[in-house]
Amino acid sequence: METLEPIIANHPFFAGLDGGFTNLMVGCASNVRFQAGDYIFKEGDPANTFYLIREGRVAVEVFAPQHKPIIVATLGVGEILGWSWLLPPYHWKNHAHAVEDTRAIALDGKCLRTKCEQNHDLGYEVLKRFARIIEQRLEATRLQLLDVYSARR
């Protein structure tokens, strides 16, 4: 069984954090698998875990009445899924749905949250990294909103 340590340690998201932190993460990490069609989490569920996708594809969905859930983004290999565990009220805001068979590393967000409250330096480093992800998603979402490919502007 492969260890998760090199995967976590080498992932760009964790670069620059000290070894102690990496060990902490490894201690709170586990391999998970989802089959195509499984829901990883649903809107409203308590958010205590985040995921590092190793294989497959996950769709972030918005549930709308009279519609099947609408996919607003897909995430693939190497991407981080989930930030709602970091900020109160710690509930998922969207559905996450495996589009293909997906393997991921699940990381204990609840544990990390507590450590961040105790150690603000660690908290700042973690928040910086998630802020970057949120920024990228926001920019991409804005571009999507512009509907640049439509005929009428």
Partner: protein, 282 residues
């Protein structure tokens, strides 16, 4: 910039071309295949060049050539029906004729990409002016390293050349990634803007040359992102669009600061237009 020699006849005179096929790509996009009435050899053109297409008595439009440069006996154009002129163009029936002037313009600099990775980034109908380049690279496979096609469209229904996209992906050292802004039912592929595909392309900056075509906003963000990934500004190319009446640099309409898009472009190096893309109402 690369330029083909224009025909020796008056560039303001349209030549009659027979409509051989009108294929529907999406609800409002059609691909026309034309054949010259009077010249079996056809016209040499370079990927990225355009023609001025004329419908008798209606009007004329600049349309990028979308066919295979190795088969100049046919001229292929993918046209979106958005107004009177485009509508009449896509409504032509097989056997009728359309006037063609050109080819005009500076095309994709294939020679700059020799022995390097060719990264093609297309948005919406922007894939049409890039298709001749893709054909050229696939037809001269050994002259180029990896070919990566990153294509974003509005929704699955609006994807162009679906069968070809699949067949291109089967070529040696060729990667084709497709994404849509709105997924819809049954779509199990990527959803998100085309910049979200970059991480899967495994770009190696110094050995890559990128060619981008799509709406101006999309090209601006893509070029910026490519630069952030380490590509040099001289290794990123965009195809610009402006109003054109003559296609030969005499009517003045297509000016983009000091450039004439019809003859200095439509393909430009990112270095040439980087500061211009940010200027509102230039």
């Amino acid at each position: 910039m690369t330029m083909a020699t224009t025909t020796t006849t008056d560039p303001m005179l349209p030549r009659p071309y027979l409509v051989r096929q009108v294929a529907k790509e999406t609800p409002d996009i059609f691909t026309l295949t034309l054949e010259p009435e009077n010249d079996p050899n056809g016209d040499m053109f370079l990927p990225g060049q355009f023609s001025m297409l004329w419908v008798f008595g209606v009007g004329e439009l600049p349309i990028s050539i979308s066919g295979d440069p190795a088969s100049p006996d046919r001229l292929v154009y993918t046209v979106r029906s958005v107004g009177q002129a485009t509508h009449s163009l896509v409504s032509q029936r097989v056997g009728e004729s359309v006037g063609v002037r050109g080819p005009f313009g500076a095309g994709w600099p294939a020679e700059v990409a020799r022995n390097r990775d060719v990264i093609v980034v297309a948005g919406g109908i922007g894939l049409a002016p890039l298709r001749p380049l893709i054909y050229h690279v696939l037809g001269n496979r050994r002259d180029y390293k990896r070919l990566v096609v990153l294509y974003g469209a509005r929704s699955p229904r609006e994807l162009l050349y679906r069968k070809e996209l699949a067949s291109w992906a089967r070529h040696h050292e060729t990667q084709v990634l497709v994404t849509v802004d709105y997924g819809g039912l049954g779509w199990r592929g990527h959803v998100g803007v085309v910049t979200t595909l970059f991480k899967y392309a495994r770009l190696q900056a110094p050995r890559s040359v990128a060619m981008i075509c799509g709406p101006e906003i999309m090209m601006r963000f893509v070029a910026r992102e490519l630069e952030a990934q380490g590509l040099a500004r001289d290794d990123i190319y965009l195809s610009m669009e402006r109003n054109m009446k003559c296609g030969v640099g005499l009517c003045g309409h297509c000016q983009y600061e000091k450039h004439f898009v019809c003859k200095d472009g439509p393909v430009f190096r990112y270095e040439q237009v980087r500061s211009l893309l940010e200027k509102y109402e230039l």
